[in-house]
Amino acid sequence: DTAVSQTPKYLVTQMGNDKSIKCEQNLGHDTMYWYKQDSKKFLKIMFSYNNKELIINETVPNRFSPKSPDKAHLNLHINSLELGDSAVYFCASSQAPDSYEQYFGPGTRLTVT
């Protein structure tokens, strides 16, 4: 039983394409996140949703659009992909925005060629 799952695990696409990454958590948590980990392993938050509402929106290009259809899902859509978008994207969840522990998914490795 995977707590936080992401699909796809790997995504290879060309510049200019539009792609989506899906995330689901079965922990009953209220809060979900998207993080980006670059090639140097630096990890930074992109977005956070609580009960389907956006609560954190870092300085991310508006080509990135998160969508939360319900509390258990948080998807990430990326338009007009660029080379610099190549990274590993992690979804995470927590019981609440101020919870101390976050649970991470396995990551989606996006490669833009």
Binding site: K40, L43, I45, S48, I56, Q102
Partner: protein
């Protein structure tokens, strides 16, 4: 702004020896400090946290961390390293909007 620093990109230790992975923090107010571990091709896993209370915090897999206010440090430790402890370790803090702010990570390599 809240931040954590991990001064070592890599730490090498022989199996059975004690290990320390260093972290220093720069935080206004009471620090909320965390350690996460990332095994190859996996997501991060929570190891332990310091919120308040005892300076020595015990966590998963036999790890512990020592909070030192005078040195603004929160070093991760384990008395006896295992080869299976080899992974990427992240120190983190929370800012006043509850965002997790991660350090740059330290790769721990435990040699048999």
């Amino acid at each position: 702004a809240q931040s954590v620093a991990q001064p070592e990109d890599q730490v090498n230790v022989a199996e059975g020896n004690p290990l320390t992975v260093k972290c220093t923090y720069s935080v206004s107010g009471n620090p909320y400090l965390f350690w996460y571990v990332q095994y190859p091709n996996r997501g991060l896993q929570f190891l332990l946290k310091y919120i308040t209370g005892d300076n020595l915090v015990k966590g998963s897999y036999g790890f512990e961390a020592e909070f030192n206010k005078s040195q603004t440090s929160f070093h991760l430790k384990k008395p006896s390293a295992l080869v299976s402890d080899s992974a990427l370790y992240f120190c983190a803090t929370k800012d006043n909007t509850d965002k997790l702010i991660f350090g740059t990570g330290t790769r721990l390599q435990v040699f048999p």
